[in-house]
Amino acid sequence: MLSWGTPWWLLGLALLPVIHWLHRGGEHRRVMRVSHLGLWQSSTANPPAAGRHQPPDPAWRRRALLALLLFIALAEPQWPQRHPQVTLWVDDSLSMLTLEPARAAGAVTGSTGSSSSSEAPQATRLLEGLAQARAQLEQFAHGAVAVRALSDPWRNLGPLTDGVVASLAAGAGKREGASPPAALLHPDKLNWLVTDGADARLAAWPEGRRPDRLIQVANITRNVGLERLSARRNPSDAGKFDLLLKLVNGGNAVETRELIFATDAGEVGRSSHRLDPGTSVFASVSIPAALTVRAVLQTNDALAQDDSIALDLAALRKRRVATDGRCPKSLVAAVDAHPALALAPQDTSDVEAVLDCGSNAAAQRAATVRVIAQRTPVQVSGPLTWAATVPESRRIALDSVRLHLAAQLQIQPNDAVLLAAGSEPVIIARKGASNLMQTSLDFGTMAATAGPEIPLLVNLMFEQLLEKSLLDEIAITDRGPAASRVVPLAGVELPAGTPQTSAAPILSDGMRPLLLAALLVLLWEIVALARQSYRSAKHARAGSA
């Protein structure tokens, strides 16, 4: 049934009789003044004295049509679509991989195999929800269906085919989802949502919009998952890593789980944890340095994907630095003592950085810190100035009295001076194919006076060289706070009284076609006026001739 967005504009239709009245009496006709009307009585075409009204200007119909179209367009007519398009938003978060008792999963899994009802009694929430969606789409929507995942809403996956279902199942849980962008929530399309309701953010749609239909699959209410695993170097023992693991009870029952840490060398820790519903606990353990670590919960539950978590510890390993034998011992000792750096022989090839003190053998292999000594060390003159690119917190308080320079560095275009003494550069970051940092500091002289300058300068130069923070490095894997939640949150469901808009018609906006029609009528009117003007001018010329 036709409805109106702003029906009060329809009051403007009352102007149509006014338009007709304004065109009465043939004002459209050309008028010519004469001395005495009685002279022309014999040639009267339509004598007013006879009581016959002249017909109104035919243009009134055109102008009335223009007004009619405009007022109707402004009233925003809307009528129901017979075959509305449906956008099926699919929540592909990790919780959607929770196994549920299969009901219609077999109808959609087809090619997915692993969830076929004939082979397993259970299917994931994702497959179950898509199965329900497919069934409802077959009953209701005869228009086009576009499937979009909440984790990648801008990608239109097309209709709900087996391939799309398999693609969604394969990609679920890999990325966190978000509510649909407002730009994709077309008012002339139905927006359905398949979700378990465990993440309220996915149902909080922009501009107060709500799904036209909510397909919610959430029968399982028990789950404990591993949300986050982080690791850092043990500050007192460089050969160990400290692990911190967050366990979350995403269900509505008290759960107890056995937690096991394992590396490539085998199990390195085990603990038992009891979690109340909706709470989380942290488990910490120190393990020997390894390349990877894995934490596993026992026993498994319906959402197996969050019962284990792995962490790549490669980021915590020490960087090997090839050291030149000509380097001062104090400098080599500072590299050796650095928790993130490890000394390597001068001719080693698989190093990440090189400390070059005059031997160019390894200069071009990797990022290089080159200590240049070309003259007798002299004490620096002028105030020490750090570059703006060096954060204030990382600047080292240096005593210029104890600093000596053994060379004079030449600045080239695009070089960055990290430290300068007066106008003389002290540490320069050279731009080139491989990172190169040069310094004219004489670390041998500096070593004569006890102080922290050399280790701090070594850390600063290698951090700038490798463009990483070498101290307090942390490796982390985080699944997000809602990854293990399987219980629907309040507010996700459609509120009571809200009609399931699958029954409510989706309305088409009739404003645009009406405005287009009004534009065409307006063009018609302009052309008619132009023709009338042309004809009048033509007659006037004929008359004057």
């Binding site: 008028v31 001395s35 014999s42 040639s43």
Partner: protein
Amino acid sequence: MATSSLIRAALPSEPELQAFAAAAAQLLIDRQPRAPGSRTVTRRAGVGIQHFDHRDYLPGDEVRHIDWRQTARRRRPIVRRFESESVSDWTIVLDASSSMAAHGGAKWRATVRMAAAMSYALLQVGHRVGLLVFGGRVLSQCPRGRGQHHYALIARLLATQQPAAAGERSALGACVRHLHGAASVFTISDFLADDEMRRDLRAILQRCMTLHAIQPVDLAETRLSLAGELDLEDVETGVRMPTHAGDGANALAAAERSAMTGRLRGFCARSGVVFSDWDITQPWQHTLLRHLLQARSSC
């Protein structure tokens, strides 16, 4: 629509006026056959007044001309009438309705030139001349007077007159009460009215001894410049009428114009009004002289 500069008329030059006055002098000083006895005047002192007959008193007649003896005998007011002398009072009545301004105001310009020339000629032979300009009412008036200086007054008035482009009707009858004592009335009008102003002419005729009527005719008023369906608007009444303009309509209008002139001419002949129609493309001198000759022959 004619602008005021177009409508405003240029008066004849002094040589034109003098030439015309010389030619018309003999026609203008001839003794008039009948004149109302109320205000005959003489140009020279000592010239007497000859009694002509009696008639009933009409409002506006001089009380001193009431013949009391006849009044007592007939038991109603009776005034004496006199034979006029060679000079008398003239009033020139000018139509300044909007129809005179139509089609560029050619009729008005021609009319003003004729009125000026007639005034000049009458003043030259010693007549007293007044001027009435009428539209829907009397628009302006110049009292009767004589002499060259009076022509200056009339000329100034004529030069400043201009008919309204639209909305000014023709009400010749409005002049009747202003014509008291005029021996001769010289009316210049297009007489474009439903009855060709015959009723107004008849009323004026009651107030004067001689009535002249000049009808300027502009051929443009029966020729439409546009063709096809259009509305005609009467410049005086504003009434509109649809018509199909073309050669046929023009011919019908010309015929109607001729018929109106014919009806007016017949009326004037029956009523003793000296009538002439004037194609304004013709020189006003010829028309006036022919008209005065016609007036003399009709006496």
